[in-house]
Symmetry: none
DNA sequence: TACTTTCCCATTGACGCCCATAAAAACCCA
DNA sequence: TGGGTTTTTATGGGCGTCAATGGGAAAGTA
């Protein structure tokens, strides 16, 4: 199974283009090799991105939320109405729409951070802070990454 | 079951390459013979490493968490975005990314320390100190290696 | 026309692939 | 068991390819 892994910082050029990291490009399916989907992260000043296929999974999960809950409605509105299908150029670059750039405070560069089945685009500095905060929350819960990564048995 | 055992000190060459010890290479599965995973040790100035397979188990676990929960987000950020998938060349060498080299104070050589299901990469001197400290802690805790090695049923 | 987006080409540096060598380890056979 | 031979390892270096980036020109859009 292919996953979006690791972190890469790339530049936004004068035309607004930015390269999707090579290892992320390789994850896109052959049918939709040049297509990705972007949308505003609900919780963060960041952009979520994924392959076209992933949208189906997300929609299923939202469907599984209680149909009468406010959450369900909020999520589907936030996500689906603001989805931006985006295509890569021959070199693997794409253009981040202005409203998304604004949402994530992007100017000259952006950090791509792998999240397994999807990825996020952050202002590089915010990305570092986010990673640090996540680590510390996990530590505070007395869980160690190593134990998660290494131990065969889950507890 | 094959385990990462023993300690080896290898050189980092001018291109930044270092050989994964042969005995460690033999532990990697045939499917992913040329792929390992590196990540920052949380507790030490060292790098943790393991075979690529673990990723699959880990990602399944994370994927099964509630997609909107904070845990899910923390785990996927800390793990997926900070993991460094790395491939070995034909000779069994790989490149340690700069930010990891910095974290472990590595320059011209590095010590590989077997830890059973995973391994660590240390600055050779720090590795010695670490091993010494570990032995002394065990002594202080009045545990003997023999007791651990002899008794079958310890948990 | 003015502006935006895509296509194409060029550059640079990083990395992968290949071959070479010396030392160590494994092997073999008397 | 010892000594010689073969194989494996760790290491070094050349070179071609690819990724990230930049910019000009063409094509599309308003």
């Amino acid at each position: 199974m292919k996953l979006f892994l690791s972190t890469y910082v790339n530049k936004i050029d004068s035309k607004g283009r930015i390269s999707l990291p090579s290892s992320f490009r390789n994850i896109l399916s052959k049918e939709n090799k040049k297509e990705i989907i972007l949308f505003k992260s609900i919780k963060f000043a960041a952009i979520d991105g994924c392959s076209y296929e992933r949208i189906n999974t997300i929609s299923e999960r939202i469907d599984n939320l209680d149909i009468f809950s406010e959450d369900q409605d909020d999520f589907s509105t936030s996500i689906f109405s603001e989805i931006v299908p985006t295509s890569l150029d021959k070199e693997g670059r794409f253009i981040i729409p202005n409203f998304l750039k604004k949402h994530a405070n992007l100017k000259n560069e952006a950090a791509f951070i792998g999240q397994g089945n999807y990825f996020q685009i952050w202002h590089p500095k915010s990305a570092l802070e986010k990673q640090k905060a996540s680590r510390e929350r996990i530590k505070a819960n007395k869980k160690t990454l190593t134990s998660i990564l290494i131990n065969k048995s889950n507890d």
